[in-house]
Subunit: 234 residues, 2 copies
DNA sequence: TAGTGGTCTAGACCACAAA
DNA sequence: TTGTGGTCTAGACCACTAG
């Protein structure tokens, strides 16, 4: 009641409700009024307050249960959105001139550890791609991919000379599911050489395994130069 | 038309539409039918298809503009949700027994680099907290916080002996905004000692600066033991 | 069993951007 | 100017679950 009560605008209602949560008027675990009561208070229909409540629930601020009512989340598990863009876009966005250099491309036996990760026989042959990305001429990251030849028909080393694998894949084999792992490792020797950094420098490694529907596309390993930061927020 | 056309269920409609996008029936940049047409096709009201379309738009698959219609996103910037839970919850979720050990707590001058990050005069005095977390008895991560005393009144070293700062903060000073940076570093000597790892081991460092509204709460540095992985997916 | 949220309808008006 | 999505209403029925 003391807080604003802009009428009949679900965004305003959401702001008002969020305000009560964040200011502590409603504390974690508290039961908040039912939709009908809120609708009466805000002088609108149940659908409208429902939309505001639904939005807050998907954002993790509220827990909702039929018959059980709506409560303020006890464990506000905030999710920070981590963008997964095309590599060159990421560099461009940061304001740098993009450089791309194909190091190696060709069919290869899958790396032992990578095979184990995928639960595949390492007898399987993959299209192995190694490339270097530069930002303003400075080595920025190394990408190493293993792609399942059957799912990337048409992708040739010639194409890769001009176009990063990311771009080709986005247009030709869009992923529908991916698993991502982020960890800190010592840069392996070949990566350290390519990035022109000291061997055993700390490197941020992003590993991504991607599928199109249930069909495996491949595995991506991204080694970043020391000092590289992943930035996000809530 | 060829794809399923389950009637009057927005989730089914969303599945159907997403199927057309991911199977390539509708390609990036394509204009898709208007709400009225889709409503006719699925034999439901505009509100219902609208909900499905809105959902796909917020997920990044569609771009919508008044009068301009709805198009398939050309740049599907997929966002991987990175969870930011209470530390002990994270360990518990992974199935381990949680250990917590306060190493140091007391007022201190803010660290030089940390002060620069915040744009604060390093003359400011902060509550400095260092703690060790264990998973099944094994050192797991080191947290180092600098908290602005004015915003955490009531938080004493005695409380911190028993309760991780995270838990106290969640209940008493919930954050409304945070900036998060993730990078790979060499573990500093004191951190390496506490984690019982070799000096200069690669460590995943998560840095978080948090605010309540516009009021700075403090800075958190989390050093992880080598091998620790952040896992997410899309 | 009863009460709560989840969904859908059929209609209306409005805001914005393209033509 | 006009067509599109964005939002709201007033009502209804249903699904889940707490008591």
């Amino acid at each position: 009641m003391t807080l604003s009560s802009a009428k009949t605008d679900w965004k305003a209602i959401r702001r008002d409700l969020l305000g009560r949560i964040q200011s502590g008027v409603w504390k974690p675990g508290d039961q908040i009024p039912r939709e009908v009561e809120l609708a009466a208070h805000y002088d609108c229909t149940r659908s409208t307050v429902g939309r505001a409540l639904r939005d807050l629930a998907t954002a993790g601020f509220l827990d909702r249960k039929r018959k059980g009512g709506t409560t303020v989340s006890a464990n506000p598990v905030r999710k920070a959105p981590l963008e997964v863009p095309i590599i060159s876009e990421a560099i461009r966005k940061a304001g740098y001139e993009v450089g791309y250099q194909l190091l190696r491309a060709g069919e290869r036996q899958l790396d032992q550890t990578a095979a184990a990760e995928l639960g595949l026989p390492d007898a399987a042959r993959f299209l192995s791609i190694e490339a270097l990305y530069l930002a303003d001429g400075t080595p920025y990251q190394i990408e190493h991919r293993w792609l399942l030849p059957a799912t990337v028909v048409g992708l040739t080393p010639e194409i890769l000379e001009e176009m990063p694998a990311d771009e080709w894949l986005l247009r030709n084999v869009p992923l529908t599911r991916a698993q991502i792992m982020i960890e800190a490792v010592h840069a392996p020797k070949d990566v350290a050489d390519a990035l022109q950094i000291a061997p055993d420098s700390p490197s941020l490694l992003i590993r991504r395994t991607s599928w199109r529907a249930t069909q495996l596309i491949g595995v991506l390993h991204l080694y970043h130069a020391p000092g590289h930061r992943l930035v996000t927020g809530i």
